[in-house]
Symmetry: C2
Subunit: 104 residues, 2 copies
Amino acid sequence: MIENDIFKALADPTRCAIFEKLATGSMNASALRDGMKISQPAMSQHLSVLRSARLVREERQGRFVNYEVDPEGLALIAGWLAKYRAYWPARIDALKALLKDMDQ
Amino acid sequence: MIENDIFKALADPTRCAIFEKLATGSMNASALRDGMKISQPAMSQHLSVLRSARLVREERQGRFVNYEVDPEGLALIAGWLAKYRAYWPARIDALKALLKDMDQ
DNA sequence: GAATCACATAAGTATGTGCTTATGTGTTGG
DNA sequence: CCAACACATAAGCACATACTTATGTGATTC
């Protein structure tokens, strides 16, 4: 159940914020830490969890490690969500907008 | 951050299984418990968490309480997911299938 | 090659979470 | 009414998790 790891990873608000920040553009761990009240080890641990959940992937660049959003995690969530499409009401505007975007 | 409650609710495998079972059709707490190795209080607590996360909603029917999937929780996940559509690769088959379904 | 930097890992601790048993609440049927 | 039922809540406990400080690892710079 990889989805469980994904949900578990996103269950923590700090980790959710890290992911959200990373979604604005790939950056290294130090850059991610800027403006966030979080220690270096804590950030490293959070990134490790996000990476295990396939929400984030890393790429060594010299002594920096560049992190970026891993689409695979998002795809897995989308897959999970798709299983329950029978329950999506017509009024889900977010989804409708989403669909339009994909059609283009 | 209501999404955090949703992710936290789905982070537990037991709760995930309960939701999945409920997605096959609405039923009461006792029926949900059938075949699952889980005590009555544990089930009640899990349902309470799922309800707080808007993943499930209840309806009293005599001395039974009927539970069903609450589309609002799914919509919130879809909304969260939509924020990161920039990262969806074209190869996400699940999403593509999902889109086709919605178009019909 | 030694110091420094960017990051990872180890170990300990405080808090959170999911379970248990016990009990409470509301409903139904005899 | 009262016994049985369906479910909720309370309290306590075992374990998980998110943090801390301390230290390790690999790369760069002087």
